[in-house]
């Protein structure tokens, strides 16, 4: 049986590697510990495994040495359960004394550990999208190199109205907070640009057959879905089976590159907005994709890219901190000050809440050389979580919810 | 006043009328035997009297109190006890615990969650006494599962007697017993004081006839013949029923 906890520690191999290279003397001191909080079992395992692969790929490629400092990686499996996420973060922080937490994946897990993170001052690089973590109820120890739940959807709304020329859209999403924020973001900007959301459909989590919702899709010229995990595959397939041909757009989870090998031809044409795209031409992205292929024979997506870049962010912060991670406040400050040019998602930096400001890619699923891939249609540069509004204006409006923004009658 | 007065008792399952207008009057202290071929509705009658089944119509009165509409547990509190044809006891528990449960059923103590049952010495002494009455005092602490069939039958009777009922219904108390065991149980029943009225269903005529003051013969859900032992034996309808079988 594989050993989770000490599976990737800097052990003999890494130390030998470090000795072979001209490293600063400090490399021999106490290693820096990163705790990964990921869903390695349960319904979100697909994303959790990608998270583990992404971070491991980066650390392995750097021989578990970032900016000259030895890294220990400790992994905690949240089992896709908030209660267990809470226990695991306690274990990582109190028992393993990690210096950084990477993860968790889901908003409901992040909320379970949020108070703990603040209380114990743990620099945390999470992938959970929940808007308010970096907005109305900011967590001072949080850094998010991906995006808020609504960030990419703002862009999608803009693109749908202006480039796709959609006028009347029906949104469909899971009946929980991530879905509300995704569709809220879409609707807000889509309507700002002259579009109109005519109906919002919510399916309960764990829905196996989407037909009752598909049957309600009519009197519109497009569909926006924000499913996550395995649901996009199910949804797109059933959508096509019912002969629906209206354009579908979605967010980072709906068109996640990691799902590409699992989609069939029915998904061709789906447009999604995402802070990462497999087609980004930068050298850093090519390296990332090659590493994922080499180590795990895996096609990387948004979650793997997120933790991979977390590795890069930590590396840069360690450099500016000279390896001193004893003061959490200083560490977070250093993390948030990180500005990277060459990463799998291209250049990005953080705003004062710790949320990434960077490119959002609008892509379409196409078949290239017999394989499905996301082809970039347009790159929106330097997109913050508040785009297209100024921060103050944005924060004045209510948080997105099931009922906000409301569905209003469309002008004919 | 009659101990048990039944009038026009009816019960059907689906379309099948199992009990069709039973009338029965048992005097206080009487020993009444109910006989009849299989399927005559004897056990159903007991279930109706004891309240395990609800009658469709008709009345059951216990010493003048109408009980047909009451749930079985209320009938127990009014002084009705029964044994079952198929022994239904608590096999994991000791004999003593079985009888204690019976006593507890009529005691207000049964709702008490704050004291230990095994410290309720008065109650337990009473249970031991009840076991003694059926000759099982020395086996009181043995689990019921480790006793013989005949012993369990006596425990059943001990449980019923422990409740000091006014009317006791015995459903085939001799069924499945060896000859010796039958003799023991018969002796036991003979000693039951006359304050307790007994109604018994039994197939074993040898033991039962001797015991009974009066006999009722049931057939097709009704009491067909009612009388003393001699009257019933002499009645041609009795012969008809038993020979026609």
């Amino acid at each position: 049986m594989p050993f989770n906890r000490r599976q990737f520690l800097s052990g003999a191999a890494a130390v030998a590697g470090a000795a072979a290279m001209p490293m600063p003397a400090i490399a021999a001191s106490k290693p820096v510990k990163i705790g990964l909080l990921a869903d390695l079992s349960g319904p979100l395992a697909e994303g959790g495994i990608q998270m583990k692969q992404g971070l491991t790929a980066y650390l392995k490629s750097k021989n578990f040495t970032l900016s000259g400092y030895r890294i220990d990686l400790v992994i905690g499996d949240t089992g896709s359960s908030p209660a267990q996420a809470k226990n695991k973060i306690q274990e990582l922080v109190e028992r393993d004394h990690v210096d950084f937490i990477v993860g968790p994946l889901a908003a409901f897990e992040m909320f379970a550990v949020n108070a703990y993170v603040i209380q114990h001052k743990v620099p945390t690089l999470c992938l959970a999208g929940a808007d308010n973590l970096t907005q109305r109820a900011p967590n001072p120890y949080l850094v998010r190199d991906s995006a808020t739940s609504s960030q990419a959807m703002h862009v999608m709304g803009d693109y749908a109205a202006r480039k796709l020329g959609l006028k009347r859209v029906i949104t469909i999403d899971s009946d929980f907070a991530f879905g509300y924020e995704q569709e809220g973001g879409f609707q807000q900007v889509f309507q700002l640009r002259g579009g109109c959301v005519v109906k919002k459909l919510w399916s309960p989590l764990g829905t196996v057959d989407f037909t009752p919702y598909l049957a309600q899709i009519r009197d519109c010229d497009g569909v926006c879905q924000g499913y996550a995990g395995a649901a996009p595959v199910q949804f797109m397939k059933q959508y096509a089976q019912f002969g629906l041909k209206l354009p579908v757009c979605g967010g980072e989870t709906a068109g996640d590159d990691a799902l590409l090998p699992h989609f069939g031809d029915y998904a061709i044409g789906m447009i999604s907005a995402c802070p990462y795209t497999i087609g980004y031409p930068g050298e850093a992205n090519k390296t990332f994709i090659a590493l994922m292929k080499k180590y795990f024979d895996s096609v990387p997506g948004f979650y793997a890219a997120g933790t991979y870049m977390d590795g890069m962010v930590i590396e840069a912060a360690l450099k500016s901190l000279h390896g001193d991670v004893s003061d959490p406040a200083r560490t977070v400050k250093a993390l948030r000050a990180v500005k990277l040019e060459h990463t799998p998602r291209g250049p990005f930096s953080f705003d004062h809440f710790g949320n990434a400001v960077g490119n959002i890619y609008v892509r379409r699923i196409e078949k290239v050389g017999g394989k499905l891939t996301n082809v970039t249609l347009e790159t929106y540069k330097n997109i913050s979580q508040f785009w297209p509004y100024p921060e103050a204006t944005y924060l004045k409006q209510p948080a997105y919810s099931r009922s906000w923004p409301p569905v209003t009658a469309c002008k004919a | 006043m009659t101990a048990l007065a039944i009038r026009g008792l009816r019960k059907s399952f689906g379309g099948l009328r199992v009990t069709q207008g039973v009338d029965l009057a048992v005097a206080p202290g009487e020993r009444r035997l109910i006989i009849g071929p299989n399927g005559a509705g004897k056990t159903t009658l007991f279930n109706l009297i004891a309240g395990d089944l609800r009658a469709d119509s008709g009345s059951v009165a216990l010493f003048g109190t109408e009980i047909a509409g009451l749930p079985a547990r209320r009938r127990a509190h009014l002084g009705l006890a029964r044994t079952y044809q198929i022994i239904t006891l608590f096999p994991k528990d000791t004999l003593l615990r079985n009888v204690t449960l019976s006593l507890l059923g009529l005691s207000g103590l049964r709702w008490n969650p704050f004291v230990r049952l095994d410290r309720q010495h008065a109650l337990i002494a009473q249970a031991r006494h009840a076991l003694g009455r059926v000759g099982l005092a020395d086996m009181a602490d043995r689990p019921l599962a480790e006793t013989s069939y005949g012993e369990r039958r006596r425990v059943e009777i001990a449980m019923a007697l422990a409740q000091s009922p006014r009317v006791l219904l015995l459903d085939e108390p001799f069924a499945g017993l060896s000859i010796d065991e039958r003799r023991d149980v018969a002796a036991l029943l003979a000693e039951v004081p006359r304050e307790i009225t007994i109604v018994m269903i039994e197939h074993d005529m040898d033991v039962a006839l001797e015991f009974a003051d009066r006999i009722s013969v049931m057939h097709f859900g009704a009491v067909v013949v009612d009388g003393t032992r001699a009257e019933v034996v002499a009645d041609p309808r009795t012969r008809e029923i038993y020979l026609g079988e």
Binding site: G42, A45, E46, L201, W202, G229, Q234, F242, G243 | -
Partner: protein
């Protein structure tokens, strides 16, 4: 829209029937609440899907092989685990859930966390115009398959010696033993049959639902709901129960979307409170 919902109610019901018929038989005959049933459905889907995707087996052959594999798995489970636990419901609950955990983790280990998307057989791809609406051909085929399976099962229960023995066992297990039916062999057969049906259902469902981690525990409550509604051990009960659930699910989600999370459980509570033995079942033992 209503026509689509109505047809789909039957499709979904058909799929539920494939899932729940075995559960109902096993429960009716053996009194074993087989909480591994959802896992068997998922396992069937994974095995069938892999056979199609990696081994390029034809769809129907893959379905049969997967059903046989899951049936064999069921047989092993019955022989080596459940056999020793007859009559002890709690131990059965523990062991079937324990195996369900293991299957779920095993699947994660073998197939990873990614969803496995299975294509419908080519002949059934695409859609058909029926009753004035466009409906996926494969979904219509699922209805026919469910009907065919129901007919075969019915014929088997009604016309064969094995069926007579199963019916006798469901009605009165004690009596069946007394009249010399080899109950132990019968149990193994029925458990294999139920497991195989679930595995077959998993393959049939795969082109519609895909196969993914968590499918097992998404399907298990559905099987339970159907059996509660239809009554245990009754084949017509499971069929009608499945279709009723199909209708409640499809129309309920559209008509009362605010109750989406309770759509299956509110009617279930109502049925159970008013008629604890299920709509078609006999009184619980």
């Amino acid at each position: 829209m209503w026509t689509i919902l109505a047809i789909n109610s039957v499709t979904f019901g058909g799929l539920l029937f494939l899932l729940s018929a075995g559960f109902s038989l096993i429960f009716g005959l053996m009194r074993v609440p087989n909480l591994t049933h959802g896992s068997m459905f998922m396992l069937g889907g994974y095995i069938g899907g892999s056979l199609i995707a990696s081994w390029h087996l034809p769809f129907w052959l893959a379905a049969l092989v997967a059903a046989a594999a899951v049936a064999a798995f069921g047989g092993v489970m019955e022989r080596f685990l459940l056999r020793r636990l007859a009559g002890s419901v709690l131990a059965q609950v523990l062991v079937t859930l324990g195996v369900a955990f293991m299957v779920s983790d095993f699947s994660l280990m073998v197939w990873g966390g990614d969803p496995l998307s299975v294509d419908a057989p080519r002949a059934l791809a695409g859609g058909t115009r029926a009753l004035g609406v466009f409906f996926p051909t494969y979904r219509i085929a699922v209805i026919l398959i469910a009907v065919a399976v129901a007919a075969i099962l019915w014929a088997m229960l009604d016309r064969t010696r094995l069926g007579a023995m199963i019916r006798a066992g469901v009605d009165d297990p004690e009596m069946a033993r007394v009249v010399g039916i080899r109950v132990s062999r019968l149990f193994t057969i029925v458990f294999c049959l139920g497991a195989g049906l679930a595995g077959f259902g998993g393959v049939m469902g795969a082109p519609i639902l895909s196969v993914y981690p968590g499918l097992d525990f998404a399907m298990l409550p559905l099987a339970l709901v159907v059996v509660i509604l239809g009554g245990a051990g009754s084949l017509p009960g499971s069929l009608v129960g499945s279709i009723v659930i199909g209708f409640i699910y499809n129309f309920g989600l559209v008509m009362v979307p605010q109750l989406a999370y309770f759509i299956l459980f509110l009617p279930m509570v109502l049925v159970l409170v008013l008629r604890p033995q299920g709509l078609f079942g006999r009184a619980a033992p």
